[in-house]
Symmetry: C2
Subunit: 331 residues, 2 copies
């Protein structure tokens, strides 16, 4: 294993401190916790909290800021944060108007965030939750009952966060999050696995000419392995499964995300986006917004995922609303 780290056991702690050192105007760390909250707090607004295992940077701490999250909980690498940590995040971020937890659908995350919600409710904090399950690749997986939550989660942060920022009630913010979840689908592929530092070896093995289609963001198995093909053909395969959901039809408007998994050159992501734009144009699906970059990574995995979000007037306004966070700024 070749990595630029100090001690594998201290990565999350040091990474969070490195983030605060870089972005002190945006985020501060909750004392003694692996939790980032907004530097200037979130008084008087509905609060959004997300998180999960570390290794998906900039998710989720990079999205703490105006128009997106109010708090992010960082578990150990690829490991759900404990209920205590989520509870501390809720208490630290709470602005007095209620809290929405945005959870990616992994069994541990759902359980631990729910326990934290109960703890907070016992203290009189109003807490709601949504579970993101945008990955169409497989129906159940290593750590999941049902579909996994992956890069589509960023669109939940973005749209629900914009609703909260403009004064939406907890019910309104939750309704937006649920609308995004109903209309967002993703699927990914890997040409090289990631290596969890403490494990010291790749999470799976691929032959020199082989790729994995539909794997999860922790290296969970996908739908199949195949000989490497062109980015256009591979993109077609991913899009085909996403479009088979029946959500995205001629005349619809969508937001697109082409997401790098950590070690993918940006040039390859733009090649993938070119094909996405061609296929959607052929189908008369209009692209109203496109994000290309590393939004939900898998440490040093090489590959990408594609996400589509169907937009109505409300979601179009929210996805285009201003945001100002360490990893996502929009005027």
């Amino acid at each position: 294993m070749k990595k630029m780290i100090n001690n594998p056991d201290n990565i999350v702690d040091e990474m969070l401190n490195g983030m605060v050192a870089a972005h002190p105007d945006y985020v501060k760390r909750v004392d003694g916790c692996d939790v980032l909250v907004r530097a200037n707090g979130s008084q008087g607004k509905v609060v959004l909290i997300s998180g999960g295992g570390s290794g998906h940077e900039p998710a989720h701490g990079g999205y703490v800021g105006k128009g997106m999250l109010d708090g992010a909980v960082a578990g150990a690498m690829f490991t759900s944060p404990t209920p205590d940590q989520v509870y501390e995040a809720i208490k630290a971020a709470d602005g007095g108007k209620g809290v929405l937890l945005v959870i990616k659908n992994y069994t541990g995350d759902v359980m631990n965030f729910e326990m934290a919600a109960d703890m907070a409710a016992d203290e009189g904090i109003e807490v709601e939750k949504v579970v993101v399950n945008d990955d169409v690749a497989v129906e159940n997986s290593t750590w999941t009952t049902g579909r996994r939550g992956i890069a589509g989660t960023i669109f939940v942060h973005k749209c629900a966060g914009a609703c909260a920022e403009k004064g939406g009630s907890l019910a309104e913010v939750k309704a937006v999050a649920e609308k995004v979840i109903a209309n967002v689908r993703s699927m990914g592929m890997a040409i090289a696995p990631c290596t969890v530092p403490a494990a010291g070896k790749p999470s799976f093995e691929l032959a020199d000419d082989e790729v994995e289609i539909g794997m999860g963001i922790h290296g969970e198995p996908g739908t199949h392995r195949e000989k490497i093909r062109s980015v256009a053909e591979t993109t077609d395969t991913l899009l085909e499964k996403i479009l088979a959901e029946g959500i995205y039809n001629a005349g619809d408007e969508v937001a697109v995300m082409v997401n790098g998994l950590g070690a993918t050159p940006l040039q390859e992501l733009y090649l993938a986006n070119l094909r996405v734009s061609e296929v959607l144009a052929e189908k008369n699906i209009k692209v109203a917004k496109t994000l290309v970059g590393n939004y939900m990574t898998s440490i040093d995995m090489a590959g990408y995922s594609i996400t589509l979000l169907k937009l109505d007037a409300e979601l179009k306004e929210l996805v285009n609303a201003p945001a100002d966070t360490p990893a996502f700024v929009q005027v």
Copy 2:
């Protein structure tokens, strides 16, 4: 070679089309050229044009937009753009107030941008140039007389671009660019080489426990190879050489960039930034701004560079001024 591409010969063309498809509100392509300019043009302002070989994405096309560049020329992979292409960029972007070329110091780039400047001058366009040479690692290199231009170039785009955006004259914009160049220094390291698609094999070889210190963004040799050490120790080595320049002293304010070379997980960049912040704090050098991410890459190289820019009141205002480009947005 494992890459998500179509045909190695078409990557630049397809990448530029993928960028335009993703960011039509920001950039458009000049017909028949590997040149991106602002979608809404640059009338009535001094124009900044940069570029160079492809493979450094988001540099430079990702920085075309308000507050930064007006045009970017994309050469073949790791290959200087031809004078003709630079000339087309100048003509397409020209807003009638003069043009500043921001050139990274590589022999081919300098020669070809200068030839293009001469061609444009013959047509009555006022053209000035600056050459960025921020890499302190080596004094001459494979394609360079003098020091190489690397990630510090982004600070030239940012500060000179902000000056141009607020109505600075060509002389004023050039003076800002020269001030940045005088005050910016960088150095990088690699734990894994990049692979140029058309070459099909890594640009250099490293043993499993070996890293290269001070290599260039095309894989040019650095100062030495060494056994892999911790990110803190490695960061110390890079910073030591940057600080030996004598530019950054107790009481100074600086902007910091921790730049990923393409395949480096963001978590590692934040670990590096933590060490940078510690060392600068020890030396009583104040960090006024920090950028952490993939700003000037080397295709799929793994590793990072550190850049320091000493700020005076003018540069501090300019580096913090708003920007709105595909790869860099600041409120």
